[in-house]
């Protein structure tokens, strides 16, 4: 299993541009998450999904959109990029309640995004 994969690894955007961060998992996990990590701030939850077609906002959703058309994919869309969105973005997935590995999040390697 590849686990959780994210593309691209690095990206530089100009202010006002848009882009999609890709996230795919091959563990058949129902739950998927997007976080951003800023220095000294830990991880902040942007959006999460409990299954295909279902998404919900986390702590910092403004400026982002998500969709979940399949179990495997959970792309994160940035519209009108701003310098405040410069961060490292992590995608994660987990199995649903009732399983031995419930609530254990598996993280991708991250996407380092700079907006200038």
């Amino acid at each position: 299993n590849a686990g959780v994969t994210q593309t691209p690894k690095f990206r530089i955007l100009k202010i006002g541009q848009s882009m999609t961060l890709q996230c795919t998992q091959d563990m058949n996990h129902n739950y998927m998450y997007w976080y951003r990590q800023d220095p000294g701030m830990g991880l902040k939850l942007i959006y999460y999904s409990v299954g295909a077609g279902i998404t919900d906002k986390g702590e910092v959703p403004n400026g982002y959109n998500v969709s979940r058309s399949t179990t495997e994919d959970f792309p994160l869309r940035l519209e009108l990029a701003a310098p405040s969105q410069t961060s490292v973005y992590f995608c994660a997935s987990s199995s649903p309640p009732g399983q031995q590995t419930s609530y254990e999040q598996y993280f991708g390697p991250g996407t380092r995004l700079t907006v200038t």
Partner: protein, 113 residues
């Protein structure tokens, strides 16, 4: 809403010495608690979790954490650290059964030879 405090942003310790990384949380409901480790330029990896049952939980590489409900703490300990334990450690909390995870700001553990 939950919150997590990790009071120590950096902890230097000599190899083979014991270490404790502190984590305190705030929540009005019952919680699940987690410790994750992040090595440089990598994603986070689960170290251990507390969902219910025994308040002392252990990882496969010698770390342990104890859930203390009265002190709202979940401190991480290891009796003897190795150079390879150098990493950033994050404490996280979620409402029992919830999917909204809140992470602390992290503690950078540096193991010195």
């Amino acid at each position: 809403a939950q919150s997590v405090t990790q009071l120590d942003s950096q902890v230097p310790v000599f190899e083979e010495a014991p270490v404790e990384l502190r984590c305190n949380y705030s929540s009005s409901v019952s919680v699940y608690l987690f410790w994750y480790v992040q090595y440089p330029n990598q994603g986070l990896q689960l170290l251990l979790k507390y969902l219910s049952g025994s308040t002392l939980v252990e990882s496969i590489n010698g770390f342990e954490a104890e859930f203390n409900k009265s002190q709202t703490s979940f401190h991480l300990r290891k009796p003897s650290v190795h150079i390879s334990d150098t990493a950033e450690y994050f404490c996280a909390v979620s409402e029992s059964g919830g999917q909204n995870f809140v992470f602390g700001p992290g503690t950078r553990l540096s193991v010195l030879p």
